[in-house]
Symmetry: C2
Subunit: 342 residues, 2 copies
């Protein structure tokens, strides 16, 4: 399997590390021999070698220089689209940052790859939240695969849990804690902090950005619940269809009062069937102790599926992180390989 | 896909119902057209029709007569081995009862099927707990597939969670609440019942058998943790290798005392790496509130995986039931089909 990595930020580097470390087990256990033949990133640099790049060298350059401009053994300077179209990669790993308004540049990357008949694995929420049905049709027309486990809950199986071992189930409702930053803030508020104090601590720990709106106002959770609703429940939701309320209106007093009643405030992303169509919302909810999501604390994420045959199934695990999200890409690559060689 | 069902008890009937109800979605969404061409059961009866059995008719006979002896359109009287060897089935569904001492009759059924190059899906814990590595080798030699999701946690993805979306992960430790009966009893004891009262209630509700030893003494959990350890962690454990302690020594006072310390008694099946080998045990443990297994109540089951990249991932859901376990077989059939047509 020859891979081109488009976007070499935190997540892309996480994937490179895992491929490098797990090479033996991938070959032995999964009959997968991943060769990264191209990396293209506007900041880090671009290099292509049809025989494969030396990952030890690449990772060491990233460590020391924070770029790969001194990697000499290959063609340099190809931009993302040239890399997607002209490299020998069978699989494009798209790991550029999410843009929820346009989906770009990821959307053009993925469209271009699929139209060239190349498989795609991505962690970019924008293209999947905005254009899943279009991209799915492209995979069918061009007989190629699109995987995107890492767009929801990082490497903790959420989408692929529903698509693979739960294949055949009907999902009636999904409720999730899908944003670690807000869950961390709400957890810290349960120990007596104000919203502002908890936000500041989350920023100091690197869980929240300096401009925290994407998390605290629910935009990140909104992108994820659209993906869940459209991919797993057959919805056709757009950003404007989803009611959204963040956690920035939750006070220390709200949290204290809930705790006194054995309840916990959580930012819940929810998708359900109503009036013959799929609906979704993001809003803070008070959950009682017997709710399987009530005790999900800190940056841990969780999803609760209500189904026809199994009633409720809940999965929890990390929802962010360099290697945790890189692993989502690796598991997508393993599944593409398994599916193609079956 | 032509299927022979060997063993037509509760679980087999659950599968027949699901195939019958979900036919449309299976064809449309999973490109799977399952045709049950044979059923063989020493009590219910045996019938074979190479064109496929009428499931509506079969289910209606099972409902009214509790057997299929009045199903007239086919060859009757084939025993399980003749059905496995001489029917036109591509896939053998083995759903006979578990025997942890010999694995029979399931073990012979599965060996025979795999040696004939037929794929197998089973819910029978005996053969997998006793002979997984032998059966795995048979699948490799005969280029066929063996699936057994339903041997652990019924249809809640446990094994297939680890094997499919978590492919590529290293599992360092597994802890599970894998027996619903004992968890129900311990949950009811938290509301003040004695062990005997809670056991009696579980028996009245059909959760516990008249002779409850397989559950309360930990044998069922032992079979499941052997399967988990041998399949997911590369162990080679036999029944005698696993330390086992049931819940019948837990008193009302033990439970009360734990509750007073915000702890919960749970029967924990555990597998881990120690001294260079895989080990496993089944025993009651006091879990503190922040343990992801502490709040798993009633007949719900859960498994907590400690991994290299994702740290802890926990899944919970039903661990028993007619349709819940039948669904495990259905999801195995979907995966075999997906893998073979990839």
């Amino acid at each position: 399997m020859k891979i081109a990595l488009i976007g070499c930020g935190t997540v892309g580097r996480g994937l490179l590390e895992l491929i490098n470390e797990k090479q033996l087990i991938l070959t032995k256990k999964y009959n997968l021999d991943p060769i990264v033949s191209a990396i293209s990133d506007p900041v880090v640099g671009s290099v292509y070698n049809e025989g494969g790049l030396d990952l030890n060298k690449i990772l060491s350059l990233l460590e020391t220089d924070n770029n790969i401009k001194n990697y000499s053994n290959g063609i340099t300077g190809w931009d993302s689209l040239k890399t997607i179209k002209e490299s020998n990669a069978d699989v494009i790993v798209e790991a550029t940052p999410t843009n929820l308004e346009t989906g770009e540049p990821g959307l053009t990357h993925i469209r271009t790859a699929l139209k060239s008949g190349k498989d795609v694995a991505t962690t970019n929420k924008g293209p999947i939240a905005l254009a899943y049905h279009e991209l799915k049709a492209l995979t069918l027309n061009n007989r190629c695969e699109l995987r995107f486990e890492g767009t929801v809950l990082a490497g903790t199986p959420a989408l692929n849990l529903a698509l693979l071992p739960l294949a055949g189930i009907e999902i009636k409702e999904v409720r999730g804690i899908v944003n670690g930053t807000t869950n961390y803030i709400l957890t810290r508020m349960e120990s007596g902090m104000s919203y502002d104090e908890a936000l500041r601590e989350a920023q100091e720990k690197g869980y929240a950005e300096a401009k925290p709106d994407a998390d605290v106002k629910g935009w990140d959770a909104l992108a994820k619940i659209i993906i869940i609703a459209n991919v797993l429940m057959g919805g056709n939701l757009k950003v404007v269809d989803v009611e959204r309320e963040g956690i920035d209106g939750i006070s220390k007093e709200d949290v204290e009062k809930a705790l006194g009643n054995n309840k916990h405030w959580k930012l819940i992303a929810r998708a359900w069937r109503g009036d013959g169509e799929i609906k979704a919302s993001v809003s803070p909810k008070e959950l009682s102790e017997d709710d399987p999501l009530a005790r999900i604390m800190g940056v841990t994420n969780a999803i609760n599926f209500t189904t026809d045959v199994l009633r409720e199934v809940t999965i929890s695990g990390p929802g962010a992180g360099k290697r945790e999200t890189g692993f989502a890409l690796l598991s997508d690559l393993i599944d593409i390989n398994r599916f193609k060689e079956g």
